[in-house]
């Protein structure tokens, strides 16, 4: 193929690639990250496979997309973190390094290589008590572009879902948010992201999508989805003793929040 000689075909190829990827992962289960009084909560729903992962002592990862692609990216992030942690120190392992020098360029290279399959994945990473903020998030998109967020972060199957989810999550001061409230907020944000992912057609204007979303009954979505799916929730918990702060929430911790949606 002589794509480089044909700028038009090249641009078209990239656009096709975007459509292809978005089509593949749009229905994926969203991931929600939100700070709370004792750290950061990451939440998603899934049938049974694990979708949230520990990267390093204070870094967690969630993703939407093809599980084998997510797995490759997860392993790359873990390799990089442990290499830096050993050769320098635990403190030197920062989310910025992993995103800027690791995942971002790797995903971009995969996206640009038009003769091979791109990474079918959008990745969210969370860092507890980083240098600049207590609750730092990054989203690395399927084309390698990355964005930084503070306090909370939402990741749907397609970028259109992100901002609707974010609206449902809007919290003034996450440092005062209890774990229970954080869980409940995160579930609602997940539900609207789920709703967008399952739309037959996404309106091209954001405002049209917003208008469509106003009447959505989130509790009803959750009630239906919880019949088939289980909640996976982890925390990066500041008060956890020892260096690793990552912990899976137990069924007992989730039950009070989930019960209110199951009725």
């Amino acid at each position: 193929m002589m794509l480089s000689d044909e700028p038009y075909r090249w641009a078209e190829g990239v656009a096709n690639r975007r459509d292809y990827i978005e089509d593949q992962i749009r229905a994926g289960s969203p991931v929600v990250g939100v700070g709370y009084e004792d750290g950061i909560l990451l939440l998603t729903l899934s049938r049974s496979q694990q979708k949230l992962f520990e990267v390093y002592d204070r870094i967690g990862l969630g993703a939407v997309g093809h599980s084998a692609d997510i797995e490759k990216l997860r392993q790359a992030a873990i390799d990089m973190a442990h290499s830096i942690g050993f050769n320098y120190s635990e403190e030197d392992v920062t989310l910025r390094q992993i995103v800027y020098f690791g995942l971002g360029p790797a995903i971009k290279a995969g996206f640009d290589d038009v003769v091979r399959s791109p990474f079918l994945a959008r990745v969210m990473l969370a860092e507890l008590d980083g240098e600049a903020s207590a609750h730092t998030f990054y989203i690395v998109d399927y084309d390698g572009a990355f964005f930084r967020y503070e306090d909370f972060c939402t990741l749907g199957g397609i970028p259109d879902a992100d901002h609707l989810m974010e609206q449902r999550l809007d919290v003034d001061d996450v440092t005062k948010l209890s774990l229970t409230d954080a869980l409940s907020k995160a579930l609602q944000a997940w539900a609207i992201g789920r709703w967008v992912g399952k739309l037959e057609e996404i309106p091209s204007e954001d405002s049209d999508l917003d208008a469509l979303a106003v009447d959505v009954d989130l509790n009803d979505i959750l009630k239906r989805e919880l019949q088939d799916l289980g909640v996976e929730a982890v925390v990066l918990q500041r008060s956890l003793s020892g260096k690793p702060k990552y912990r899976l929430l137990t069924d007992d911790e989730l039950a009070p929040v989930l019960d209110s949606f199951k009725k």
Binding site: I78, H82, S83, G85, F86, N87, G242, P244
Partner: protein, 265 residues
């Protein structure tokens, strides 16, 4: 590409070399122009709630006291520690590699490394160090202690300089000061008021400090309580609820009771 979650593989891909790699075993320490840093007493006992592991704080080079705040009992994860005697340069490196290996494996393979695998990893690292050990400058003789959640009991393993691994059912001690207290430990466990296995935490901690003090009496390379700088030995316990450092204030109180006080004081 490695898919085994092996941290050492990852390090080697990055170009890392262990201290002993490339060292050809020849000569003996008699030829050495310098004194390597070493010396220690470390001990581990199984007491009522789990295992206790303790070490003195002195590092020596020949006749010289190099350091009085060495921590020879190193946390590897939430349930296991390694206590080191021998060359600290190699031992700390081994501990660092192990700590990262356990975490790396757990995160990458999405499961905890089994106890047997952890023991094997330590053994392999000691074997890698054989050339240094034969040179006489880098031998490491660690004790590995953990709480086995599967069997719900504390476990203690010790090694020789070539990497052979032994499990002890009651207690062990290694390092230059250990010959001075090995017999004491046997005597205490056999004919003392309480066997180690029946001791509550405070008594076990007090006993560990008595033993280290005894080791220091007969071995110049083992430090005792340092009065001027107020430095106590390192004492840790591992129980069903995990690894716990015994705080200085607790050590102070138990030192006063068991070492300074005690029968006949």
């Amino acid at each position: 590409m490695s898919d085994g979650g092996d941290f050492v593989d990852l390090l080697r891909r990055d170009g890392y070399r262990f201290p002993g790699e490339g060292v050809v075993a020849s000569g003996s320490r008699g030829d050495l122009p310098f004194h390597p840093t070493e010396g220690t007493t470390i001990l581990a006992i199984r007491y009522r709630d789990g295992v206790l592991i303790a070490g003195d704080r002195r590092a020596t080079a020949g006749n010289m006291v190099l350091y009085d705040r060495a921590d020879k009992v190193i946390n590897l994860d939430a349930y296991s520690v390694m206590a080191i005697s021998g060359s600290p340069a190699v031992a700390f490196e081994i501990a660092r590699v192990l700590e990262h290996s356990f975490q790396y494996y757990r995160r990458r393979q999405l499961q905890e490394m089994s106890l047997n695998a952890k023991l094997r990893r330590l053994s392999l690292l000691i074997k890698d160090n054989i050339p240094m050990a034969i040179q006489g400058i880098g031998a490491v003789i660690p004790i590995f202690a953990t709480f086995d959640r599967k069997d719900a009991c504390g476990k203690i393993y010790f090694y020789d300089a070539l990497g052979a691994q032994f499990e002890t059912t009651d207690f062990t001690t290694t390092g230059s000061g250990s010959p001075g207290i090995r017999g004491v430990m046997y005597y205490q466990d056999r004919w003392g008021d309480h066997k180690f296995a029946d001791m509550a935490r405070d008594e076990a901690v007090g006993m560990a400090m008595r033993l280290l003090d005894t080791a220091g009496e007969y071995d110049s390379a083992t430090g005792r309580y340092e009065r001027v700088a107020d430095i106590f030995p390192t004492v840790k316990i591992i129980t069903a609820s995990g690894l716990e450092d015994i705080e200085t204030e607790t050590l102070r109180a138990l030192h006063a009771e068991y070492v300074d006080g005690g029968p006949g004081a």
